[in-house]
Structure formats: C-alpha cells, structure tokens
C-alpha cells in the first residue's frame, strides 16, 4: 500500500507553538513539503515501532524517504499513531538556535503527536466520509438524470386510434429499467407495438434497452412487418450486446381500421387475447434478441373483433413473489383475464391484484410492464366504419372490372380468405354493372360511385348511381328459375342481384337526393 503524507513547515518556526502571534504570521509563509514513504521503506517500520520523535540524522538504515526528507530540510519526524495505525507524521526542521533538540523538546513533540494523532484520525475519517457522501450524491444525481433520460425513451403519449382504447404501465424495480414499451406509428395508420425485457436490471440493462429501442425503431421504419423487424434487429444487436445479456421482445403491428394484428415473438411472454368467450395465448416462436445471429421469427396474424382486448406484459408480473415465496404465476393471470372488468380497465385491475399478492412490504424484484389495447364495441347502425376507399368509375361496359380491382386493393389489408375475396369481388362487379347499366344507362356524364368502409364486424360497400329515370329503373329482385329459363319461359339473364343476395351477408337499397345506393354488407 502506498502511503503518502504531507508536512508543512518552515524550518525556523516548526517547533514553535502555533498560538503565538509571530508564529501565526510565520505559518502564513509556510511552504508545502510533500513527501511519500513507500510501504517497503524501512522508515515505515521504524515509525511504527518508534516511541517518540526520530532524529533523521541518527537513522543508519538506507531509506529513500529519509534522504528525501533530509534534502527538504527536515530534522525530526514524529509518528502520529492512533489505535495502532500510522495516521500521519509530524516533521520539524532544525532549531532556530542551531542547537540540537533536547530531550525535553523530544518529549514535548512526542506528547503533541500523541494528542494530535486521534484528531488527525477523526479528520481523516470525516474527510473520507465526506468524499464518499459526495460520490454517492453525484451517483444518485446521475441516476436520477439517467432515469429521466430513460423515461424520455418511452412514449410521451399513448396513441388512441378511433375505436380503440390503449394503455401502458411501466414500473422499474430499480432507478433504471431493462423493460420498455414503445408505439411506432406508420403513415398508413398502422401502429407498431413493442414490449421488451432486457436480462438483468439497473444501468447495464437500461443501456441495452436504449440500444434495442433505437434498433427496433430504425428497422421498423423500413421493414414494418414484425417477423422481418425482429430478424434484422437481432442481427444488428448480436455483435454489440454484452456477453450473457439478451432481450425478449414482442413486436406487434396493429391495423386499427381492420383490427388485424400481425405479431412475432423473440422469446417474450405470450400476449394474452381476452375475448368475450375466453382467453387465448398468441403463440409465435422465436429466440430472444442478441443470442445468435441469423434467426428467423415466426409471424402470425389474428383478427381482433369488438370487445377483444390484448395484454402484453413482462415477467415482473408473473414472477412476483408474495411473502410466503409463492409466485403470482401465469395460471392466476389467465384466470384474472376471464373475469369481468370495471370501468378502470385491465391495467388497474392487474395492478390491484399484483399489490394484493405481494403485500405492502414488497421489495420489487423485477421491472413490471403492461401494454393493453381494447377494441371498443360499437353498434353497426351508429358506426359506418372507417373509410378504406372512395372513388368513381365511368359508366361503360366492362368498367365493373375496374371497380372490382380497386375494391380488392383497398381490402387487401383485411387479409380475407381467397374464397371470401372472390365473392366480394363478384358482388361488387354485379352491383357496379347494375348501377352502370340500369342506374346510369352507360351515360359518360354519370359516373358510378363506390365507397368501402369497415368497422369492427363488417365490411360495407356502397355502389351509387343516378337512379336511372326514376325508381322503376332499378331492377327488382327476382328469383331466377333455371328450369323456366331453359324452357324459354324466362329470360336467361337476371342473375346479378341473385348472386349478390347469395354471396353478401346483407344488402339494402337507399335513395337519397335522387341517387340510388346499394349497400353490400359482409360480416368479418
């Protein structure tokens, strides 16, 4: 151990009592003498074994420290020993009178050193505590700032798309967290939803959290779809993540208009879908981020209906222990997800149950994060739905194909089964054809209007025409009879409305301001 001490004096005043006025003025002129005694310097042992002052000129052993002290004008050194520890050394120069120090001088110096040593020790301890307290305060301040910075990385506001109620909760176990959640809005209205959990807690986890968040955001901007986003983020994170650390992450992409949710999972807890008739875990396989590059992430899709609610959570919830050491556990969470909720919503409900489980003296073991999103129930009659597209096509033979294609493009985001899509296209084609032929009489000045809307349960397609020359122009629904047609007793035509009636879930006619609209409804 290296020992360093300081001696300040002026050779001709060093031995004088400091209380004297002339000494005070002399002390103002003191020069700092800095000297160090290496731990292996024999002077160290001599000081520890000394019973009073040591005359440097009487020391016979070779000591670099003694040589240095003598070179700086010191004559005597007196160890300051408190509770067996060398806390300092009192050094004095030559006497003013140029005479040697007397035995009385030495006794006085020894007594002084004996009295001073505990005071020096106390001063040293106080100083050490002060330094430690300052360091702790600085660290606390830095952590507070870091926490504030980390909170800035979380969304400042929770997006609330029309027809949805979204909520989030984030509670770190320590000043800083390895959990995070994020919402990434896309220009087309879709919303990326992230919940991630970095192994470990505190500062290291928080730093990995910040990196992962940035990578996910940057990747999502280009790739959008969850499987590809996790794949690219994993590859980017692998080279930089510290050993033995990894990130579990659930990334979901919600289309608020259609209720379609694509999701991929990098080893995170399974999201839970709460439906009116039960609870479903949304499974998709994938390794945590940062373990191995080149991983693939399974991507799944689910359609959320009115009243459906998704919970994405971190394991700080399910792995919370009560005073008896029992975990909160997934079975309890699953059971809670089946219970009716009051107006406060799912997050408050789960927080209450977590608090009840862990008790008031809980020392939070891990970060806790929830994100929930709930598709609100809306009556069809009061909710025309979000507009997917609105356009018009010229009323000319064959242009129903244009209407069919544009509707198909607009509803592609609904991910409907192919056979369902074909039926919708046929209905749109037949309705458009009727509008062009009967409603608009193929008049170039009378375009056929098409509007497509979707709500939680239904796709609504409105085909609007100019109502021909009056309501009588609209073909009335008939039931075509093939036997009669084959016998020549009924026109071979007249299949259009019959096909629509057979393939759409509902249809209705409306005439407003001289325009006729056929509304086709398809249950989702």
């Amino acid at each position: 151990m290296k020992t360093r001490f300081w001696q300040r004096n002026k050779p001709d005043v060093s031995a004088k009592p400091v209380a004297k006025p002339e000494a005070v003025s002399a002390i103002r002129d003191v020069k700092a003498i800095e000297s160090a005694i290496a731990p292996n310097d024999p002077l160290m042992a001599a000081l520890l074994g000394a019973h009073g002052a040591l005359d440097l000129n009487e020391i016979k052993f070779e000591s670099p420290a003694v040589a240095a002290m003598k070179a700086q004008g010191l004559r005597m050194v007196v160890p300051l020993i408190s509770q067996g520890e060398l806390t300092g050394v009192l050094g004095v120069g030559a006497r003013r009178s140029d005479q040697d120090y007397s035995s009385d001088d030495r006794r006085i110096l020894g007594g002084f050193a004996q009295s001073a040593a505990p005071a020096v020790r106390v001063a040293q301890l106080a100083r050490a505590q002060q330094i430690e307290a300052e360091a702790r305060t600085r660290l606390d301040n830095e952590l507070r700032v870091a926490r504030a910075v980390q909170e800035l990385l979380l969304p400042r506001a929770i997006p609330q798309p029309d027809g949805w109620q979204m909520a989030a909760y984030w509670k770190p176990a320590r000043e800083m967290s390895g959990d995070f959640y994020d919402f990434i809005p896309f220009p087309d209205g879709r919303l990326g939803i992230v919940v991630a959990d970095v192994t470990d807690k505190g500062v290291p986890a928080a730093m990995v959290m910040a990196t992962t968040r940035s990578l996910l955001r940057a990747t999502a901007e280009h790739l959008v779809m969850p499987g590809a986003v996790l794949e690219r983020t994993n590859d980017a994170l692998c080279p930089d993540i510290p050993p033995k650390m990894f990130v579990t992450c659930l990334y979901a992409l919600l289309d608020p208009v259609t209720g379609t949710l694509h999701y991929a999972n990098a080893g995170h807890n399974l999201p839970v879908l709460r439906k009116s008739d039960g609870v479903v875990e949304l499974r998709a396989t994938g390794m945590p981020l940062g373990l191995l590059p080149g991983m693939n992430y399974e991507e799944k899709c689910v359609k959320l209906s009115a009243n459906d609610e998704i919970l994405i959570y971190s394991d700080g919830l399910t792995e919370a222990h009560n005073p008896a050491g029992e975990m909160f556990g997934y079975p309890q969470l699953r059971e809670l997800m089946t219970q009716p909720l009051d107006a406060d919503g799912l997050i408050d409900f789960l927080r209450e149950r977590l608090d009840a489980h862990v008790g008031p003296a809980w020392e939070q073991e891990d970060d806790v994060t929830f994100v929930t999103f709930h598709r609100k129930a809306e009556a069809h009659d009061h909710n025309p739905g979000a507009l997917l597209t609105e356009f018009s096509v010229a009323s000319a033979p064959g242009n129903e194909r244009d209407a069919m294609q544009r509707v198909a493009d607009a509803i592609a985001r609904l991910n409907l089964p192919a056979e369902r899509l074909e039926k919708i296209k046929t209905c749109v084609g037949e309705a458009s054809m009727n509008a062009m032929e009967h409603g608009n009489r193929y008049d170039p000045a009378k375009p056929t209007g098409v509007a497509v809307r979707v709500n939680a349960d239904r796709l609504l397609i409105q085909i609007t025409d100019f109502n021909g020359d009056g309501a009588s122009e609209i073909p009335q629904e008939t039931s075509p009879d093939l036997d009669l047609k084959l016998a020549g007793l009924q026109s071979p035509r007249g299949w259009g409305l019959f096909l629509i009636r057979s393939m759409a879930d509902d249809m209705r006619h409306m005439t407003v301001d001289g325009k006729h609209t056929l509304e086709l409804a398809f249950n989702l």
Binding site: P397, G398, E400, R401, M404, Q405, A408, E419, E422, K423, T426, G429, E430, M433, P480, L482, K485, L486, A487, G488, S491, P492, R493, G494, W495, G496, F498, L499, S502, M503
Partner: protein, 123 residues
Amino acid sequence: MDAKPFQASVTFTPDAAPNTAVIELSGDINILADARMSAAYDEAEKHSSPMILLDFSRANYINSTGIALIVGLLARARKNKRELVVSGLSDHYKEIFQITRLSDFMKIYPNEKAALSDAAHRS
C-alpha cells in the same frame, strides 16, 4: 385484374375423342362474348358429337351476363339432345354453378383430360 378479350376455339379430334367437341374459352365471359360464343357453339355442333365440353381453364372472369350466355348454350344443347359438360372452373365459379343450379344440368370436370377420359369410357 385487367379485362381480357374473349376468345373461343373449337377442337374436335375424332381419333382421340370421337364423341366430344371441345370449346376452349379464354378471357372475360360477359355480354361482349355473346357473338363469339354462339359462333363457337355453332361450329362445335357441326361435328355431330353427342357431347360438347366447355373448358373454362383459361377463362378468368365470368359475370352474370356470361352466366346468361351459358344458360343459352345449355338450352340449345338440351333442345338438340346433346350433353353439355364443363371443365377447368375455379372453386369460386364452381360455387356459382351450384348456386345457379347449372351444375344440376352440366357435369363439372376438374380439367379437359378428365372430361375426355370419362367420355371415352362411356362410349
């Protein structure tokens, strides 16, 4: 989904399929296909085969006016005591044939080969 002009071609190969004339339909089957479809049917009837096959494998769109044309051909075939059968319909159009009951009067084969093979066995 661009509109494609309707085409119909008739093939009759007495050696391979002596009892079936095949009308291969391609493009959009709608009211605009009326004249060409009628002409193709006329040509197929000239071969005096007891069976006429409408092959839809290259038809990409059939609307209600196209269904009406098929009803017209079916009426003619029944009048002239010929069997009209179809092949190459997608699942969607198979369903339309069922909804309209056309499938009650026209046997549906998955493809032309299956139709001709069945016809050969029946002869």
